[in-house]
Symmetry: C2
Subunit: 413 residues, 2 copies
């Protein structure tokens, strides 16, 4: 077993997509461990608190008229002229990786154990050692066209500070309404439509003393984590799918194991979209987006060894915690196949919890029948009386419902 | 404070509906307590285990060619000829009550505290003292038109036994596929389409040794509980609505407080549909349906006293437990008003989790803004990072999503 270190830098992150064709940032063997840094793509909502003085973050976010450290942000076109910018923001998450797993082949399953998760402290002179995050009530939020107060619509950024002195929690520091921001290439972003645009704080009005007497219990986790799909060279990081990705389940934190079907040689694991806290549904469009570092262990399960294990027949992500298993239903189990050539943009036009519930039901039934050897009638009964279905997210185009079954339902296994 | 006893009998239950026009089974004052027996309407799935020898249950379920103790079952017509039977099964739950609250008027809020919940032991000679329930994978289940194994479709009854010797749990005893059953009036029920039909066990094939090594942790609760709506004289017990009813949230158990807006003079509280365990979604159509007895306390909050309390502006059910508040979103917040004269049957044609999520969002936002004095921007942020939305049920026509916020989010309140 070897322990690897994967810091963030322009050469160890990709911005806004999973890809089977990019060079791996790290290659390791089954059984190896890695400490992996991740950055929130919302760090520039407060550059001073979340980027300034942090060599890794500064190197990734660097963008002047002369030099853009990471030009492609998203799975879209990289030849201009651009409406939004290179990659066109079709996919927005900073993802560290990919990590290639030696010997991984399509049909295998990669198990990823999250051994630890730690927030990334600020390096700026004024805030050194403290940890911050950004929550954005965004145009892709469930609430956006359903607002009460004026002005409508509006996007709102709320900056939180994380207190880790005891049981960790977050408190709001201030918020502001998004105002048009001009990027170094001269494109004006009237809404939050391209990641990594530095917010000019002289153009926004900070409101302090907000969410007074409110403490948000922390749920440190990675919103986006998974493998490269096989269907396209560049796949938007926004819609979750059969190889994982932007699942946005806060249970994917310390102590969790998650299993992904391998779709391409080397598996090509990436992780990012780190969150300090999120509720089931991620209603406004984001969590408390906070840079995190994780310790991971990777175990490759070869195709021919899956029979008779909990991974038999697995064609989608599966979460295991100390107390339960969860499957993830999506509007489309594999939107890349189901929606054709324009799938990556088209998927947002069909978001449906009803379909995600259908998919979650089918996946959990299969798990109970294949892995726990129940008849369909036994499985349906158990699903009714002991399985819990929740709203994972209503903001990632391919909406999600998770279905969970507690382990203590099964005696003596 | 007075403590009342309300046993089950043909004169203390209604079958399949809430009603503002029936005679109260009990009238009490705010602050009073009551021990209320409830019966599962599925007890005749195994008459021997759940009815035989139990005077209360026998009196309610009695149905021969000459005598049907409770003729009306549902909010439908009571003049034949019938397709299904009197009331036509438009509403199916046995509800004890109504309990009238002295002085309750529209605009008030009734708080119901569940002090204790106990299973009702079998009285039959062979099973005396043991507790049983029935889970039905029914025609109204989410799975019904999406089955894998033959024959398709099919309804399946699974009988569970509840073990209360320690931390309570349920184990399956046997199951059977529903076969056509003829009621004492000669109507053949090819599917489970009318409540209280006694299953002739000579016509079914019991399968034992099912769900071996599976223990279902108990979640004793009342699936259906609430007040009479004002819109109709007889309202089906199936779709939940603004005065509560068939919410089917397993959190409505011991220790819970639930608040209902009063729609008619006297409030007219009823409770039934007792459950031993249910998962979020109640996927197959029912829980483990088990007769239960509860101890309740009733507190009337008058309209003019609601301002400045958590009940200010409340127009829908609100749950409070030790750790959280929950609101209930439905496809239609008040389907009786929204769907017109055929609302009680029409509602099943429009079931939607997406709409229920919308309703749950709006209700929880209102709670945070009105009760916790947050701005809309503060509320949206908090909903994203700390509120959890789950699938309450996908089987009660007016599908439900609950939104919950933990109390410990609010410091020093």
């Amino acid at each position: 077993m070897k322990h690897h270190i994967l810091p963030v830098s322009p050469s160890t992150v990709n911005w806004g997509y999973f890809s089977k064709v990019v060079a791996p940032a790290l290659t390791l063997k089954s059984g190896d461990r890695a400490t992996i840094e991740t950055l929130t793509h919302h760090a520039n909502d407060d550059h001073e608190r979340m980027i300034e003085g942090d060599p890794g973050a500064e190197s990734v976010f660097k963008w002047t008229r002369e030099h853009k450290a990471i030009p492609r942000r998203g799975a879209g076109p990289t030849e201009g002229p651009f409406k939004l910018g290179s990659g066109e923001g079709v996919g927005v998450h900073l993802l560290t990786g990919p990590v290639a797993i030696e010997g991984a082949e399509p049909g295998d399953v990669l198990e990823v154990r999250i051994l630890d998760v730690r927030p990334r402290p600020s390096c700026s002179a004024c805030h050194a050692g403290r940890c911050f995050g950004s929550n954005v009530a965004a145009s892709w939020g469930f609430h956006y066209h359903d607002l009460i107060e004026e002005p409508k619509p509006r996007e709102v950024v709320t900056i939180f500070e994380l207190d880790t002195s005891g049981e960790p929690f977050a408190r709001a520091v201030y918020n502001y309404v998004w105002t048009p921001q001009t990027d170094p290439d001269g494109i004006v972003h009237s809404t939050i439509d391209y990641p990594g645009v530095k917010v000019d704080h002289s153009l926004i009005r900070k409101r302090e003393n907000i969410l007074q007497n409110v403490k948000v219990p922390a749920r440190l986790h990675f919103g986006t984590m998974g493998l490269a799909p096989s269907e396209s060279d560049y796949v938007s990081s926004i819609p979750p799918s059969y190889t994982g990705g932007n699942i946005d389940d806060w249970r994917i934190g310390k102590g969790a194991r998650i299993y992904y079907p391998v779709a391409v040689d080397g598996a090509f694991f990436s992780v990012g979209d780190p969150h300090a806290a999120q509720g089931d549904s991620e209603l406004g469009g984001t969590a408390i987006e906070t840079s995190l570092t994780g310790d991971f262990e990777f175990i490759l399960h070869k195709k021919n060894d899956l029979g008779g294990t909990i991974l038999e027949g697995l064609t989608h992500p599966l979460l295991e915690t100390d107390s339960q298993w969860s499957v993830y239903g999506f509007t489309f189990p594999n939107y890349l196949v189901e929606l054709g050539v324009n799938a990556q943009t088209e998927v947002a036009n069909h978001s449906s919890l009803d379909k995600a519930m259908r998919d979650a039901f089918r996946k959990l039934r299969r798990f109970l029948m294949t892995v726990h050897h129940l008849s369909e009638d036994e499985a349906i009964s158990l699903l009714s009386v002991a399985a819990d279905f929740g709203v994972t997210q209503v903001v990632d185009a391919n909406w999600g419902v998770h279905g969970s079954i507690r382990k203590n339902v099964f005696v003596g296994r």
